[in-house]
């Protein structure tokens, strides 16, 4: 992390990136508003883009296989996935990068679903134009990203459960039975929570305690 980081800051000795762009149709979620073929076609002309194509479901197994094969065949080293929110599938595609032997942080997502096709459903042209912009932004960014590595640190194999109601009790018992140490913190003098105050409980009409 330190070496690659500093090297890139200094702008020293970096080969020209080879970028692959994948415009996901997400079934029809993206494709019914955004002209994915056009986005892929126009993105092919962007600097350092070696492969640019549309794909039905980038996140699916066949979708990922297709990208992995392209990486191998074309020597791609950076990937742009233009699909859904990175909050949903960034981990998926970072994992895919690892599988390809690439650094997971050399992947960038353009959010064409949550922040484009779904919010501009009545303006397909404007949405397609926006999608092109979003891909352009991602391509520019991905070319400047540098590899990062995760550090591995020891972890405390203990869980704190805050609240001793039925949910906290269940979580504590499951963890404890699996062999984990649990610290259960309850603000009142007894565990049990609201459930302990109930008489019979639906739907089986048995006693709550």
């Amino acid at each position: 992390m330190e070496i690659s980081g500093m090297a890139a800051v200094a702008g020293a000795g970096v080969d020209k990136p080879r970028i692959g762009v994948y415009v996901c149709r997400c079934g029809l979620n993206i494709a019914q508003t955004v002209d994915c073929a056009k986005v892929a076609q126009d993105s092919a002309g962007l600097e350092n883009v070696v492969v640019s194509k549309e794909i039905t479901y980038a996140c699916s197994e066949p979708g990922q296989m297709e990208i992995l094969e392209d990486i191998k065949d074309n020597g791609l080293d950076r990937i742009v996935v233009a699909s859904c929110s990175p909050r949903l599938h960034e981990p998926t595609f970072r994992q895919m990068m690892k599988k390809a032997g690439l650094n997971p942080f050399l992947m960038e997502m353009a959010n064409l679903r949550e922040q484009c096709s779904w919010v501009h459903m009545k303006e397909p042209d404007a949405a397609t134009h926006k999608a092109e912009d979003l891909v352009k932004m991602a391509v520019a960014r991905v070319g400047l990203l540098w590899p990062l590595t995760e550090e591995i640190v020891p972890l405390t194999k203990k869980t704190m459960v805050i609240g001793g109601g039925i949910a906290g009790i269940q979580a504590a018992l499951d963890l404890a039975d699996t062999g984990y140490e649990v610290i259960l913190v309850e603000k009142s003098p007894s565990i049990g929570g609201v459930m302990a105050q109930l008489d019979k409980t639906f739907p089986t009409m048995d006693c709550s305690i």
Partner: protein, 595 residues
């Protein structure tokens, strides 16, 4: 419950609250405040001799005030730990000491003091539960004014064989068994005016259950339920509802408008029966209010110290409503039960198990990979001014301002908000994965064509970007000229990013982040706010209209707000002329760059 008490792997701390949480996933340092119980739980046999001699009488919380207890008390017979406790605010103290004298095992210690200790844990499960809605706000139902109007919880205690009346239903006023009982649904739920706007999930089924319990004990009792609609959606629920109807329980569609008390303590209910469109009056001996749920009172405190997010209803917000329903956005923290939203026992148990498994999944390897998105110091540019160390919410940066040694980042403690990099005036901090060049490259490509038409928005990953996603999931439509640049925190948005955008012809710029107090990085967004205020002043000095730079707090749950802010931004953009943009570009091109 008893299993928890005797499990060798569970350490139970009752009368305890979490005061502070530091650290991060894998190694959270939690400070716990444990109130003194004044009874040694390991010695107490729950014989009850102490309570027999205690002269102080107080309402019993467990029976919601329907019975009394002493200052030294057992919360309820099956309590865990099975031990008495003294409420020191009520106790007469040393001067009395009757309980201590009565205790054969000498387990009462008045000198016991509160404990304040720290523990390190790898994961945290938040299961802080619920609080029933306080129906006194709904004055039309007369709770506390009319004795025979009870809450559902009071009713529960009364029909419980172990309750204050040994399971006998008795009208508080008149002390007789009621011949007729009514239930009012949605008290504190599904209302725009009072209580929550949400459905509390359990009250329909709880009432149906109560009617069955009543019909079992008193087959001739006249029972009426006043409702908006009955939500019997779970497995076996509809069957229960049908059984209740078959047993003669009358379901009246409509919530009462008012309740008045009659001479004998009964109540008269005025209700519009919406099935037949007629105003009806029902006289009932007892009325039960089916209370909705609220998040427990400590929710906000915990949310603040842990940097978690809440929905607009005040319950905890999960990382993803379908795919990560028990995960918090903060790694290593999970939710279980009603803390996350109203739910019944089965769902709470399911979620408790789910949260346990999610915690195990994270911990079982015994090691954890750290966040690689951290900041780095370029020593040769650092002037040791100490600004970065001041703004870091995690105290992850050390600078010796006297000896003038360069700043050092503790990468294990750094969470990657990027506030240090934004505040460094000397370009001496690189924020990995969100460097100046990386972010400015996005601005450049976005503004390369038709810059005047675009709305540049910086959005923080945890709240505003998630709020934009939420707008998408909800299919809310907003202007298509919005372009988002994601940063981990709004604290990362460097002044230079904004100047750069204006210099490249941006008509307007929006910086958006978590609401103050909700920042995922403790309080990094305070620096965002300060920075924007400073920038507004600079803009005025430079001759750039300050309103072209906007700051908005948009939470992950505020999809509607996100869409509205975008529409407002577009209105603002339309007021910016080409000439004005050209003038700004000229001003900024002439300006001396930060570094």
């Amino acid at each position: 419950m008893a299993d928890v008490g005797r499990h060798p792997n569970i350490t139970l701390h009752t009368m305890s609250e979490v005061a502070d949480i530091k650290g991060f996933v894998g190694n959270f340092n939690v400070r716990v405040l444990k109130k003194a119980r004044y009874v040694d739980t390991s010695e107490c046999t729950a014989c009850g001799e102490c309570a027999k001699v205690c002269p102080v009488v107080f309402p019993d919380e467990f029976n919601v005030g329907l019975s009394s207890r002493r200052a030294v008390y057992m919360p309820f017979p099956q309590a865990v730990p099975s031990a008495y406790a003294i409420n020191m605010n009520e106790c007469l103290g040393h001067g009395c000491s009757k309980c201590a004298d009565a205790c054969d095992k000498n387990c009462i210690h008045f000198h016991m003091s509160d404990e304040d200790f720290q523990v390190t844990v790898g994961t945290i499960i938040v299961a802080t539960g619920l609080e029933p809605y306080d129906p006194r706000e709904m004055d039309e139902y007369g709770y506390t004014r009319y004795e025979n109007v009870l809450t559902s919880l009071e009713f529960e205690r009364m029909v419980n064989a172990g309750g204050p009346t040994q399971g006998e239903l008795i009208c508080p006023k008149g002390r007789k068994k009621p011949k007729s009982v009514g239930f009012i649904q949605c008290v504190g739920s599904r209302s725009q005016q009072k209580g929550g706007e949400y459905c509390s999930n359990i009250c329909c089924m709880n009432t149906i259950k109560s009617t069955l319990v009543l019909k079992e004990h008193y087959p001739d009792m006249d029972i009426k339920v006043f409702y908006i609609d009955i939500r019997a959606f779970g497995k076996g629920f509809e069957d229960l509802y049908n059984r209740s109807r078959k047993l003669g329980v009358q379901y009246v569609r409509g919530l009462p408008g008012s309740i008045e008390e009659l001479d004998d303590g009964s109540v008269r209910v005025a209700v519009e029966n919406t099935s037949i469109g007629r105003i009806e009056y029902h006289d009932l001996n007892m009325m039960v209010l089916a209370l909705g749920m609220k998040p427990s009172s400590g929710t906000q405190h915990l949310q603040e110290i842990m940097g978690l997010q809440l929905t607009s209803d005040g319950f905890y917000l999960e990382a993803h409503p379908k795919l990560q329903p028990v995960d918090a956005a903060t790694r290593g923290i999970f939710y279980a039960g009603c803390a996350e939203g109203p739910k019944d026992i089965k769902e709470s148990v399911t979620q408790g198990s789910a949260a346990a498994v999610r915690a195990i999944r994270l911990m079982h390897r015994g090691v954890i990979t750290t966040e690689p998105i951290t900041s780095e110091i370029i020593a040769e540019h650092c002037v040791s001014c100490g600004k970065c160390a001041t703004v870091c919410p995690y105290n992850a940066i050390v600078v010796d301002t006297k000896k003038k040694t360069p700043a050092v980042v503790n990468t294990a403690a750094c969470s990657g908000c990027g506030t240090c990099a934004a505040e460094c005036k000397f370009g001496a901090i690189v924020m990995n994965h969100y460097t100046d060049q990386q972010i400015n490259s996005q601005t450049d490509s976005m503004l390369a064509e038709n810059a005047a038409d675009k709305i540049l928005t910086f959005a923080c990953n945890w709240c505003s970007y998630a709020g934009a996603d939420y707008a998408g999931v909800s299919r809310l439509q907003y202007p298509a000229n919005v372009r988002l640049i994601r940063t981990m925190c709004s604290g990362r948005v460097d002044e230079e990013f904004v100047w750069h955008a204006f210099e490249k012809g941006a008509p307007v710029v929006l910086v958006s982040g978590c609401h103050i107090g909700d920042c995922h990085y403790i309080d990094a967004n305070h620096w965002t706010e300060k920075r924007i205020i400073k920038m507004h002043k600079k803009m005025e000095k430079m001759g750039i209209r300050a309103e072209r730079l906007q700051l908005e707090w948009i939470s992950a749950a505020e999809g509607i707000r996100f869409a509205r802010v975008m529409t407002d931004m577009d209105t603002l953009r339309q007021n910016v002329t080409e000439a004005e943009i050209a003038e700004t570009v000229k001003i900024l091109q002439a300006r001396k760059k930060k570094y």
